[in-house]
């Protein structure tokens, strides 16, 4: 039974969450509902907003470029997400031991995350130049002629993926490091008393204890990967031959440069649905895993 005090508390709680809910409603919920509506119209921001039924969604079926961008983003995600998680966890494990200089290394791995994305991309553009870039210079010392990394369709996407890995692995590393700190020492101590080796400790203590962290990190990384936009925009402008064009870039072009906000909204909804599906799959995988 709810007492006087309880009711008072719940009232105050309502008061406290109201501003957040308001902001959420105004800046997130309403725009989402509106853009769902726009996706069924020929909205162009400026002059018209007429209901056109499923035309935008039908148009997506024939939109050759749209499917190219989805393919690019999938290939990117398949490489990027597992590598990002694996590298982030390895770095976190490596830097979890209280040794001298660990702080310096932690900072070093985290610095790319703090650098402005555009500035970093500009530096990478130069590093990846086929003739004068540092990377191909180094390769030439061992007799290899490096490819034109960002300029050919075969290597552009993988080059972009590498740059983004370098740039984003630090933030996941920090989250994993925090997760590692949260694992109580007595678990390892008792395991070691029972004769467990380093690998067994990792497999049966560290990994399961990090389950919530992994779930969070993988979800955010998947969402981030599917919404890829800025690095390819700076590095390659989606080229060559659309090899690095992403879904969000396509949405941006449709909405703001071609003034087809209705069609852009439809694409955004398709992307949102796909993100939802992957987030759901990820959730299921993590849940099943925790049964072990």
């Amino acid at each position: 039974m709810q007492g006087r005090l309880g009711r008072h508390q719940s009232n105050v709680a309502f008061l406290f969450i109201t501003p957040t809910m308001l902001l959420f409603a105004v800046f997130t919920l309403i725009p989402i509902v509106l853009s769902l509506y726009f996706s069924f119209t020929n909205y162009d921001v400026l002059s018209r907003i007429e209901f056109i039924g499923l035309d935008n969604y039908k148009r997506m079926l024939d939109d050759h470029i749209l499917w190219v961008t989805f393919r690019n983003v999938f290939i990117f995600s398949v490489i990027y997400v597992p590598f990002n998680l694996a590298i982030a966890l390895s770095l976190a494990l490596l830097l979890n031991r209280p040794r001298r200089g660990v702080g310096t290394f932690r900072t070093m791995y985290y610095v790319p995350t703090l650098t402005s994305g555009v500035a970093a991309a500009t530096v990478w553009l130069w590093l990846l130049n086929p003739e004068y870039g540092l990377i191909n210079q180094l390769l030439s010392y061992v007799g290899i002629t490096g490819p034109a990394w960002l300029a050919t369709t075969d290597t552009a996407l993988i080059s972009v993926t590498m740059v983004i890995l370098w740039q984003t692995v630090g933030s996941n590393m920090i989250i994993y490091a925090a997760g590692l700190q949260g694992i109580p020492d007595y678990l390892y101590e008792s395991a070691r008393l029972d004769g467990a080796g380093a690998f067994a400790c990792f497999r049966y203590i560290t990994l399961p204890s990090l389950k919530p962290t992994t779930f969070f990190v993988s979800t955010m990384t998947i969402i981030g990967a599917l919404q890829l936009f800025d690095q390819p925009y700076v590095l390659t402008q989606g080229g060559p031959a659309n090899a690095t064009r992403t879904v969000v870039y396509n949405i941006y072009q449709s909405g703001f440069n071609e003034l087809q906000m209705g069609y852009a909204s439809a694409q955004a909804f398709l992307l949102a649905a796909i993100i939802l599906i992957f987030a759901f799959i990820n959730m299921r995988l993590n849940k099943e895993g925790s049964m072990i």
């Binding site: 018209r48 130049n129 960002l150």
Partner: protein
């Protein structure tokens, strides 16, 4: 205490409804504005009881780029006492203009990348200036005809040209002199000179004779071959033609037979290490906007400019681009904005002042007659080029077509992944689709 919950709920409801109403109002106003059309005649008079009319001028050139704008604004403000103009630097200007034209806060006059006229003017967000032109007796013949065409839509004129530009061939005099070569005037000469200037060391390209970095040069090269990007009414691509094939054969010769370039060669080389400045590229197509940049290097970079070499049948071609000033339909001070635009662009002296302070070629033909342009060997080739340069087709589907259909296929061709016939055919099919969808 119970009231408090109700109060909170009420606040939420009011806020939500308020926002929804604001949004639907916008949509309604939107269509309303559009039907009003060019209701410019009853705009506010510049003189209102001795108080100055405030005009807001939007542009997206900041930093040093803002200086010439402020020079012009200050000069105009001093020249009379009825109108006061303020230059506002707006980043991401087009996106902001989209929202500003529908929800208030619209600028009165705007710095305008002319090619956008084709997609924005039909939406009714720009104010036509035909009646102002007639009333003030400003003749169309004072301006580059092609530039005015790019600022027109459906028979109405939406602004005057501020700058005009077109690409011409920049060449490194020192490198050409070493080999005793003259700047090329035809495709054959271009290929020959480029080949002789190219230097390879094993599989490393040390110096490229001619930059092939930008497949966007297809349009101007096609004009040189005598072809066109679109048919007359803008409904179909017309580059899948013998002329289009000639362009690709020419590029194939440069890229794969003579090997004067390597993909990605210039990527990531910033201003200080620009491939043309450092002599890594001997010849390059670029525009007058690079002049002041290259001139900075003085003796270290001895360069010249010639009009683009002509094609196999003597065709000349370059693409004219540039900026204009347009008045927003949502502006309440259209007449004052026009006074400013007229003072700046229709008056040859002021157009010239702008041109000299900003190092741009003005759209005003009288201003161009000045010795500043006619006697300068670096500007002279651009004057020649602008005589025959053509604007991009003025259809809203042209840009999506170029970006999504033509460029990607040309890049595949340059990489050797697609033959010329397939490239043109695929670009044509996908391009036709983009044209159709842009309606």
């Amino acid at each position: 205490m119970k009231n408090m919950r109700w109060f909170a709920a009420l606040v939420v409801i009011v806020m939500v409804l308020g926002t929804l109403m604001a949004c639907s109002n916008n949509a309604a106003n939107n269509t309303g504005n559009n039907t009003k059309g060019n209701n410019t005649t009853n705009a506010e008079q510049p003189t209102t009881n001795g108080k100055k009319v405030e005009v807001t001028f939007w542009g997206d050139w900041g930093g040093d780029g803002a200086i010439p704008f402020n020079v012009m604004v200050d000069a105009f403000n001093k020249s009379q006492d009825k109108i006061h103009v303020t230059y506002v630097i707006v980043e991401d200007m087009i996106t902001k203009f989209l929202t500003a034209s529908t929800s208030g806060g619209s600028p009165d006059i705007m710095f305008w990348d002319r090619w956008r006229t084709a997609s924005y003017a039909p939406k009714g967000v720009l104010a036509p200036i035909d009646e102002f032109m007639k009333a003030d007796g400003v003749p169309n013949t004072d301006f580059y005809e092609q530039a005015l065409k790019e600022l027109s839509s459906d028979g109405k004129l939406y602004g005057l040209p501020l700058t005009v530009d077109a690409r011409a061939l920049f060449y490194n005099k020192t490198i050409l002199a070493e080999k005793g070569l003259n700047p090329p005037t035809t495709w054959d000469e271009l290929a020959d000179v480029a080949k002789q200037l190219t230097v390879w060391e094993g599989d490393k390209l040390v110096r490229s004779g001619f930059s092939l970095a930008d497949v966007g040069l297809f349009n101007m090269t096609l004009q040189q071959a005598g072809g066109q990007m679109l048919n007359e009414d803008g409904t179909k691509p017309s580059f899948n033609s013998p002329e289009g094939l000639k362009v690709l054969e020419f590029w194939n010769k440069l890229m794969n037979v003579d090997k004067v370039y390597k993909l990605g060669f210039e990527a990531g080389l910033g201003e200080g290490t620009d491939a043309f400045v450092t002599g890594k590229v001997a010849m390059i197509y670029t525009g007058p906007w690079m002049l002041s940049n290259y001139m900075k290097y003085g003796k270290d970079l001895d360069f010249g400019v010639v009009a683009p070499p002509s094609g196999p049948t003597g065709g000349k071609g370059s693409v004219m681009g540039g900026f204009g000033l347009v008045i927003a339909e949502a502006s309440k001070n259209k007449e004052a904005a026009w006074e400013f635009e007229k003072w700046w662009l229709a008056n040859a002296d002021n157009a010239l002042l702008w041109a000299k302070t900003s190092n741009n070629i003005p759209g005003n033909l009288k201003a161009i007659a000045d010795p500043f342009f006619q006697d300068n060997p670096l500007y002279k080739p651009f004057m020649e080029t602008l005589e025959f340069a053509k604007i991009r087709p003025t259809f809203s589907g042209y840009f999506p077509m170029e970006e999504k259909a033509v460029t990607p296929n040309l890049q595949l061709f340059m990489e050797g992944k697609q033959d010329a016939a397939t490239t043109l055919k695929k670009a044509e099919e996908q391009g036709a689709n983009e044209l159709k969808n842009a309606k």
